[in-house]
């Protein structure tokens, strides 16, 4: 089921690339089962990276989003701020994973990195279906309060896992489109 959903999202991506002009509207994906699938994959990757100690050390620290959520503070933010925080975090994670892939030669770790990169893309499509705008942080926003600097692959995947099941899930579960559909 999850593979079919992944194929579906890839298909959506292909259609978006092939069709010029305005992107076609997607049906809102309010079901959290797809996100749970990605979260589960991220947890498996984080467990696999836990055993990687010295080999997975990074020579250059990588900037990743902070996965922690102060719910009181989160609730005080508006949807746009929440969307930007999630979108920028996903972009940062994507960048960090790509840098990690370049610095690690282990083939098993590469598979986890590739899966994580694919999941991030799929999550972007889900957010797009929910009419959540994309956001690419600028160079000045990379060192914001909402980012960390990590020096190991295990920490990176841990952040990746917690970010997905945290902020991303909170954003999708409280998406305005989904709230309007169930109301």
């Amino acid at each position: 089921m999850f593979r079919s959903f992944g194929l579906f999202t890839v298909l959506l991506m292909v259609l978006e690339w092939t069709s010029p002009g305005l992107p076609s509207p997607l049906w809102p994906i309010c079901d959290l089962s797809a996100l749970d699938h990605f979260i589960k994959k991220a947890q498996e990757a984080e467990a696999a990276m836990r055993s990687c100690k010295e080999e997975c050390l990074l020579s250059v620290p990588l900037t990743v989003p902070q996965p922690s959520v102060d719910y009181n503070a989160w609730r005080k933010k508006d949807s746009q701020q929440q969307a930007q925080e999630v979108q920028s975090g996903l972009w940062l994670l994507s960048q960090a994973l790509q840098s990690l892939k370049a610095s690690i030669s282990n083939a098993a770790l590469h598979s986890h990195i590739d899966n994580s990169l694919g999941n991030i893309i799929s999550i972007g499509q889900v957010l797009r279906s929910l009419s959540i705008p994309e956001y690419t942080p600028t160079g000045a926003g990379s060192a914001s309060q909402d980012t960390w600097r990590v020096s190991s692959a295990s920490t990176l995947f841990q952040v990746h896992f917690n970010f997905l099941r945290g902020k991303v899930r909170l954003l999708i579960s409280h998406a305005a489109v989904c709230q309007q559909a169930f109301s």
Partner: protein
């Protein structure tokens, strides 16, 4: 403490405990959660989220002299954040135990948490990489209600979810017979209602529920059970089943009635067969005479006709000896004599002989024979009930034997034959059927063994034949009146169905009496029909009756 601090504390307490009930309720729930974690968690300090963003950590210590709360330091450290110190509180819970707790409302999800507890400078407890988003201990579901459905044996359980930010809650419903430890549990997710099935009517069920967060974003422990709600399902009958049952029973009833009506006569014959009643054969027997057969016999002379001849089949075989009589007069006293002793009869024979001659001279021979026969029968029948004859089968000539004596003139002395011949011609009313008998027994000694068992002569006899009969009952010792050495006898054994004839001489008779050997040479099976017109019917026939075969001349 200064007055300002005290005022702040009081304001804080009054703010937190607006009403006494709220404070009591909150403390009760907290106490319940603390007890649950004390049972389920082993590590100290034990931490859980009271609400959404408030963490409560505690531990227990035994003893009185553990120090004050100031000696304890409780520190929270999230990854990438500064350490937070949590003030420690102490509470006595009895049995010499104290509970130290720390509450912190600055909760961060999805970030590893490190907790350290110091007593003074000593680190007593430490827990690392805790995720507060997995420490939820929610309140139990509220307002649980049970509602019957249209189908029997079903209950719909509904409840309200606890206050939580996420829909990913897992509920567990437990239902069992009230008082029983064995029950069923069902889990449901993303819903706040459940349909219970398979419940029995008339049984008191107890239902309770609990909840826990179970999703990729939030996890926690099972909450406490709700207060059980009991319900008894009433005995319901499906109206469709009831109506169908009534219709089917009505149809079966109609079918059975139709079968009974169409086969009424057949069923009556099978269930209540008609018992044959002999009332039609015995008129007035049960109506007039109230079943008194003897009385009915006395007043219904023609009824004897209906008595079948084989009525006497159970009688023992009565051999009948046919004798030829020398002197009718000599036999008459013996016939009418009531004495049973044969020896006495013989003694009186000579005396009565002269008397008999005188009587004979006054009566016509023909009528004399009739009277003789009838008198004999009357006497015989009258005496039979009072003097039941002794039964003995040792000899053909024993007590129940019937004897028929023949008027055998050829064996008599010539002078006697002449004297009687004049009387015999007038008396003679020998039918053609009786001639063969006389012919058979003509001469002395033995005779041929031919016989005729035609009883038509008996039927048509008017009592004037040459045969006379003697009832052996009068001779219990089976002695026979002396008829001469050359007298020929024929023993007839009558079983009611067949008659066995065996010619015998006087010498053979003596031998038979000595040896008690019945001699049956030939048999002739014919129904013995007693239809003699002059058969005196003075009593009911019995098994011991003699059946005379011959007739007198």
């Amino acid at each position: 403490m200064t007055y300002v601090s005290l005022a702040k504390v009081l304001a804080f307490c009054s703010f937190l405990c607006i009403s006494k009930d709220a404070c009591v309720e909150g403390s009760r729930e907290l106490e319940t959660k603390v007890k649950m974690l004390l049972r389920s968690e082993e590590e100290n300090p034990k931490c859980f989220l009271k609400g959404t963003v408030e963490i409560f950590c505690f531990w227990e210590e035994q003893g009185e002299d553990n120090g004050t709360t100031d000696q304890y330091t409780f520190r929270f450290t999230y990854l990438g954040r500064n350490t937070t110190v949590c003030p420690v509180k102490v509470l006595s819970i009895g049995d010499g135990k104290k509970m130290y707790s720390c509450e912190n409302s600055q909760v961060i999800w999805y970030s590893p948490l490190d907790i350290k507890v110091f007593r003074g400078e000593q680190l007593i407890y430490e827990r690392s990489s805790l995720f507060t988003d997995q420490m939820f201990l929610l309140d139990p579901p509220g307002n649980m209600t049970l509602r019957r459905t249209a189908k029997p044996g079903q209950l719909k359980v509904t409840w309200l979810p606890p206050d939580f930010i996420d829909d990913g809650l897992l509920y567990e419903i437990s239902y069992a017979v009230t008082g029983s430890q064995m029950g069923k549990r069902e889990q449901v997710r993303f819903k706040t209602d459940l349909l219970l099935q398979g419940l029995q009517a008339g049984i008191n069920y107890s239902v309770k529920a609990r909840v826990r967060p179970q999703s990729s974003g939030f996890k926690g422990w099972w909450s406490a059970w709700t207060d059980p709600v009991t319900v008894i399902l009433p005995n319901e009958t499906d109206p469709l089943i009831v109506s169908m049952s009534l219709i089917i029973s009505l149809i079966l009833l109609l079918l059975s009635l139709s079968i009974l009506l169409t086969h009424r006569s057949f069923l009556l014959k099978k269930l209540w067969p008609v018992i044959p009643s002999p009332e039609s054969k015995f008129p007035d027997l049960f109506t007039v005479y109230k079943g008194d057969f003897q009385e009915w016999m006395n007043h219904n002379p023609g009824g004897m006709r209906w008595i079948p001849a084989y009525y006497y089949t159970d009688e023992p075989v009565a051999p009948l000896e046919v004798l030829s009589e020398i002197n009718i007069g000599a036999a008459l006293p013996s016939l009418i004599s009531p004495h049973r002793d044969p020896q006495a009869m013989e003694a009186d024979g000579a005396r009565q002989l002269d008397e008999g001659d005188q009587v004979l001279n006054r009566v016509s021979p023909q009528r004399w024979s009739e009277l003789q026969h009838e008198a004999w029968m009357l006497e015989h029948l009258r005496n039979l009930p009072l003097h039941p004859p002794p039964l003995s089968q040792s000899s053909l000539l024993e007590s129940h034997d019937a004897y028929v004596s023949l008027n055998h003139s050829s064996q008599k002395p010539k002078d006697e034959e002449k004297a009687q011949e004049r009387e015999g011609d007038e008396m003679e009313d020998i039918l053609e059927e009786s001639l063969p008998l006389q012919t058979l027994f003509a001469g002395a000694g033995t005779r041929s063994s031919t016989s005729h068992s035609d009883l038509g002569s008996l039927q048509q006899s008017s009592g004037s034949g040459r045969l006379s009969s003697q009832c052996s009952f009068e001779y219990p010792n089976q002695t026979w009146p002396p008829n001469g050495p050359n007298y020929t006898y024929m023993a007839v054994a009558d079983s009611g169905v067949s008659m066995d004839y065996s010619p015998m001489s006087s010498s053979q008779l003596a031998d038979t009496e000595r040896k008690h050997k019945p001699r049956v040479i030939y048999t002739n099976e014919l129904p013995l029909i007693h239809k003699h017109k002059h058969w005196p019917l003075t009593r009911q026939p019995t098994d011991s009756d003699c059946r005379p075969l011959g007739h007198q001349a």
